[in-house]
Amino acid sequence: MSALSLSGVGKVFNPGSDQEVRAVHGIDLEVGRGEFVSVIGPSGCGKSTLLRLIGDLTPPSAGTVSVNGKTPARARLDRDYGMVFQSATLLDWRKVAANVELPLEIMGMGEAERSRQAAAMLDLVQLGRFAGHYPWQLSGGMQQRVAIARALAFKPSILLMDEPFGALDEMTRERMQAELLRIRAETGTTVVFVTHSIPEAVFLSTRVVIMSSRPGTITEVVDIDLPEPRSYETREDRRFFDLLTKVREGLRAVEAS
């Protein structure tokens, strides 16, 4: 059974009104367990909408989404999703550890176990020393790492990430990408990752999904057969550049059409 299965999924906002928008249309996609799938496309192509459809933040207008063989709503209630957005969205009245504990609190986990789990997660993102800090005392990259620790705290089976590194500078970004791959290797989580950046998509993924806009449809899926584990050298691999070109051409074809 695949982790994610979408067939004929479409989303229309404000149907029937003069502000009707067909955000995504006719999406078919299978994501296997442990896969890392990036979704890339021009602004407004509906990639965030796609992510929100998977995460049950908005219902589809057509087609079916199945997550671990369940409906998205069921999967959400089962806490199958960890979400990370472009902004870290940490609650600024809670210290870093308390932010990581938030989902565990909501799930009714006991206090001792909660703080043990939060500490483990903060170690995983290498922020153990900052447990007692307030979010605003951390840099943007550190805040985003806390957000990732929080998303992983309850061991979700799927991580949904919406341009999580979009607001970071290039250096931090590359470090975060390496970190994310390390964490995924340790946890084996399935990841769906929305991004604007071609190198980011290629470096991280096992597959890159290219979307066109209005309505958002999948135009091409590129398999990324780069050797594992990926490292700094990967970015200088000949194959890496070939794949970059391939994805770039796929995107250009989208823009031209």
Binding site: M83, S87, I106, L160
Partner: protein
């Protein structure tokens, strides 16, 4: 000079200027016989002892007995202030609780908001204080203590800013924060207590400051028709009636009323300082101002 020293000096400066303007105007009027110098045009306010007692006479009046052989005026007024403050405090607590409850109700139910919010806004254009005389008669019929009635008037004035700012604060978290809570499958109550209420706290305090002043106003004005012998409202009316004999006493009682208002707001400010870390404190107008959701936007 530190900013605080500068601020204190500036305030003292303005105070000195105000006293100087008062005394200067009085001196000029006395010298010219109540007209603008060099003209026959009468001054807008007469400058005799009755209309404008010397500023120091007001202070002295506070320290003299209110009645021959009685307590010091300051003491009498403070007692009256305490009495008024009791109604105001009850009104403040009641009004804030109702305001908070309405905010929570509105953020939970769009229907309740659409149905009630226009009335909440309109309620503040109703001169509630005008209803005070009627409330007093009701209280007489229902055998309710009058100071409770005064507290109700006071609560009516206090609830509004709290309701508006609570709603604004409950809605202040980013959409992504709400989506995060949704992804955790949090119940509405968990969203309320773990996300919305903590986010609303900084918005609550500026509203509580307004509510504190409003509750004092409500209490003083509520006392007028309630003809309660003990409160500050009554004291002001009495001294206003005896104005021609002892003008300084009226000014002194108004001074005390003002200080009671400032003191109450000061207590709220202290509470805010203790409960809200500096980085999360909102300037009064960030919370209420048009950069956030404006009154009308909330209504529409």
């Amino acid at each position: 000079m530190s900013p605080n020293t500068r601020r204190v000096l500036s305030v003292l400066g303005i105070l000195a200027v105000l006293v100087a303007v008062w005394e200067g105007y009085k001196w000029m009027g006395t010298a010219t016989g109540g007209v603008w110098p060099g003209t026959g045009v009468e001054l807008p306010v007469r400058t005799n002892e009755r209309s404008m007692p010397h500023t120091w006479d007001v202070v002295i009046a506070l320290l003299r007995p209110a009645r021959r052989g009685g307590d010091m005026l300051l003491l009498v007024l403070l007692k009256a202030a305490l009495f008024t403050w009791r109604s105001a405090l009850l009104g403040f607590v009641l009004g804030s609780a109702v305001g908070f409850g309405l905010g929570v109700l509105f953020v939970r139910s769009a229907l309740a908001e659409r149905g009630l919010m226009p009335h909440v806004v309109a309620s503040q254009t109703v001169p509630i204080l005008a209803i005070a005389p009627i409330l007093v008669v009701w209280a007489g019929r229902l055998n309710v203590t009058r100071w409770l009635v005064v507290a109700v008037v006071s609560a009516y004035l206090a609830f509004f800013p709290v309701a508006i700012n609570t709603l604004r604060g409950l809605r202040s978290p980013d959409a992504t924060a709400s989506e995060l809570m949704r992804s955790y499958a949090a119940t509405p109550n968990q969203v309320l207590w773990k996300l919305q209420v903590p986010a609303a706290l900084p918005y609550l305090f500026p509203a509580l400051k307004i509510a504190a002043t409003a509750s004092i106003i409500g209490a003083i004005v509520g006392e007028l028709p309630a003809s309660m012998p003990d409160g500050l409202g009554r004291a002001i009316l009495n001294f206003a009636a005896a104005f021609s004999a002892a003008p300084a006493k009226l000014f002194a009682s108004i001074l005390v009323a003002s200080l009671v208002g400032i003191g109450f707001v000061g207590v709220v400010v202290l509470a805010e300082r203790m409960l809200i870390p500096p980085s999360r404190r909102l300037e009064d107008l960030e919370a209420a101002g048009p950069r956030g959701r404006d009154l009308k936007e909330v209504v529409a």
